[in-house]
Point group: C2
């Protein structure tokens, strides 16, 4: 076979706050050997997503966390190196859930062969994958946009946010993005066609957000929490919907934030404005996956949905890139590349 | 005519915190004279409801507040004394929105004639009226109960809460009530047939609530807020629904409560547990009124829904009774009686 170097990143311990290289430790490993009914995958791309911070935590979340000592989990695009498995042959490009490592064994369960002639394979981690599907079900199922309504999305240049605003435009809504840098705001309006974008780091952010939403906010797609959420609340219209997809501003929280306690006031607004606040996880809605695949492929073909990827090279840079994701350093969907992409 | 004494209660000024007799001033008035196309009503019963605290406040709510100097608003059962209006004759018993006064003129708009042979007329203010309808739409539309689920309702012995639990039972759910006194808890289980009731004033309330909900909470019908809401949160199951109907613990709040700020943590649970939190006001759902009337009349006839009224005599006692409503002094649906009920 090959003398390739194999590496993986394990969760050495649960991080307190921002994860470090001590929490997520890189180690070399022997190149695994596939047994009968197994195949060996070489990971080309690893998706880095905010939800992964939850998997590093011992606190209850919507699914089991990673046990210290285990390899960090994550969606990957991989090339089959060796296969003892019917249906998979060396050179096949697959979507797998191989995690933060350069090589992995697989019994084929949950592995999907990709056709590189249909779309760039990285889109299976982004606009045509979990982040795109998250935007689709969150906005359509929970947001229920009607033409003419105003949709605001936070983390608007991110993997999910960029898709939310573009679907909102397709539905005839006004799309307003919130992001944390001027160039991200430009990306949101110029590349993704949002009607407006507002930088939450500007001192007059609240005024700008209000100006960008002259008819108030009908749907707030929540990715962030914190100050951004607090700025949105007073602009919500009666009957506004808040699909809660993420809260990246809080993923490193270690204590409850200082008071006053804003929960009672918020629940008061929920009542008087008849707000609908609903948390969702894309995997609860897999019945919508065929609709998503059909619609999104069509929208991309028609030039109605664009996407932007931020590809970082080398497994050694993974932890740093993930830290950057939590602080907004990436520009578009963050993807690690560990090996040459033979489809390019 | 008659030499009856006529009185009304005006909102003299916006209350700060708990309303007093200085905020809500009783005054005598001349007996009004109906003009052409008007009728004179003698108010027999006035409904007192927690939402009225909102009407006394200058803060934004879901509908216009009462202007200082004006008579306090509210639903009433009245007898027609004189009528210059086609379709209404002296002696008719009507449901009107005449407010906190003993007599009122009406042009007939929004006034509904009642048939005392069908049901006691007071039920039009309670189980067959706005509170019953609130319970019906909140639980069925927003709670979407499924047989076998656990429904928890706060202010369980109140006008809305008592109906919520009984509809939950009809839907095949486990019904658990939260109330603030031992006799209220007994009323909830013995008169209304809830499976369990828990007194939130007991020091081990949280443990008792947990014991009463061995399978967690699938629907929390929120009437109260405050400590009760905080005790419910950790028991919520994945996909739990929270119809937000009222927040009586906060209606007299003048400042934001002390920290820590619990809003971010709550939004975190909304996400990880995929909670659905939705405020509602019954008048947004009037399309369901015919269904409600049909179902509720049937349930009462079949003995599946019982109700309890707390009738206080005399307009001079109205402000005190309303203060009692905000502190939980009433037992069942609170109704003021200002005149003899000729249907009894």
């Amino acid at each position: 076979m090959t003398a390739e170097e194999a590496k993986r990143i394990i969760l050495a311990r649960h991080p307190e706050g921002m994860p470090t290289g001590e929490d997520l430790r890189i180690e070399s490993m022997p190149l695994p050997k596939p047994a009968v009914n197994e195949m060996l995958l070489r990971v080309i791309y690893l998706s880095l997503d905010p939800y992964m911070r939850g998997r590093m935590s011992p606190a209850r979340s919507y699914t089991k966390g990673v046990t210290p000592g285990d390899t960090m989990v994550g969606a990957t695009i991989a090339e089959v190196m060796e296969s003892n498995l019917a249906g998979f042959a060396p050179g096949d490009i697959v979507l797998s859930y191989s995690g933060w490592q350069t090589h992995a064994l697989s019994d084929g369960k949950g592995v999907v062969k990709l056709d590189p002639s249909q779309a760039p394979v990285t889109t299976a981690l982004g606009v045509l994958g979990m982040p795109g599907f998250t935007a689709y079900v969150g906005l359509l199922e929970h947001g229920r946009p009607k033409a003419g309504e105003t949709v605001v999305v936070s983390a608007a240049s991110g993997a999910v946010g960029q898709v939310v605003g573009q679907i909102a435009k397709i539905m005839g809504c006004r799309a307003v993005g919130i992001a944390g840098a001027e160039d991200k705001c430009r990306m949101v309006t110029e590349e993704f066609g949002f009607d407006a974008a507002v930088n939450y780091k500007e001192p007059d952010f609240r005024d700008r957000l209000k100006a960008a939403c002259p008819s108030g906010i009908d749907i707030y797609f929540e990715n962030v929490g914190g100050d951004v959420f607090r700025a949105v609340i007073p602009l919500l219209n009666d009957f506004a919907r808040i699909p809660v997809c993420g809260r990246i501003a809080h993923y490193n929280d270690t204590d409850l934030p200082e008071g006053p306690d804003r929960l009672p006031q918020f629940m008061g607004l929920v009542l008087t404005k008849r707000l609908s606040v609903r948390g969702f996880i894309q995997f609860d809605h897999l019945d919508r996956m065929p609709d998503f695949r059909r619609d999104m492929a069509k929208w991309i073909r028609e030039g109605k949905v664009h996407y932007r990827e931020d590809i970082v090279q080398g497994i050694d840079n993974t932890v740093d890139a993930f830290r950057g994701l939590l602080t907004g350093r990436n520009r578009g969907k963050l993807i690690m590349q560990f090996a040459n992409d033979p489809t390019k």
